[in-house]
Subunit: 137 residues, 2 copies
DNA sequence: TTTCCTATCATACGAAAGTACCAAACCGCA
DNA sequence: TGCGGTTTGGTACTTTCGTATGATAGGAAA
């Protein structure tokens, strides 16, 4: 917000300066009004360009990683289950998931079964697809 | 390129119109030059804004996921194999893939086995991860 | 024509994955 | 202190997946 006020302040000052300069120069007769209009056009074209550039930059930032934790809670998915879901997306087998998390394969299966029912799916590949679709991965 | 020429053509015409209008009005004395400068400023601010917006839109579009068919050929993946890979990413079982493509489960298994070796993976979930990483999905 | 590639299908076997129970330990909360 | 949820683990069983091997058929290339 502070930036917006600052930018518009600058713009108004620039505009007023142009007014003054144009009045003076036209009186003096050394420059035509067309030149001022042209200058104004170019300057504000660039300003508008830059303003939009800045604005889009901000919109670009929050794009890459949207992990919807609200959705996770909404579905009642626990931390552990989500942790296992991540390992799943890395292509690990149940056994490998167990090894990386220091738990038995049985436990992994239990968590996955619960996860499947919460996602209303029957297979790990379906879980992956649904998880991505729901932005919880 | 055609668009760029068109847009700049419009801009030049607009500018010339303003010149004419300003000359006429100043002669007639019914409007001050400040008003024209202000109008010019606003118009070109908006134009600059819109131009940058379009440009950014184009930069944003190619983000999601282009399907790298060169990579597919490079890995020697056949059309049928890739077709099955797509079904895989939809979370279908071998049997279901067979049904949607009107082939037997055996054939699906054969294609998948070949696909796995071409992708250097051992499981379907790994295949999915690798396929996305290589932009062939 | 013979060879190579692709697509198709089958059988058999072992390895994963998934389901259905059950149960113990822990933790926070009422 | 007991209740409910989470995490952990187990057994037993079914289903799915993956591999190996072989076979047939069509099309493209040599």
């Amino acid at each position: 917000m502070k930036k917006t006020i600052f930018v518009f302040g600058i713009l108004i000052v620039a505009l007023l300066s142009l007014f003054q300069l144009s009045s003076y120069s036209i009186m003096a007769g050394d420059l035509s009004s067309e030149v001022f209009i042209a200058i104004t056009a170019i300057v504000f074209l660039i300003v508008g360009f830059l303003l939009q550039y800045r604005r889009k930059e901000r919109l670009l930032q929050p794009k890459p990683a949207p992990i919807d934790s609200d959705k996770i809670n909404e579905l009642g998915i626990t931390d552990r289950e989500h942790e296992i879901l991540v390992k799943l997306s890395e292509g690990l087998s149940n056994k490998e998931i167990g090894e990386t998390l220091f738990i038995s394969e049985s436990t992994v299966k239990t968590h996955l079964s619960n996860l499947y029912s919460k996602l209303s799916v029957k297979r790990r590949t379906q879980a992956l697809q649904k998880a991505k679709q729901l932005h919880i991965l």
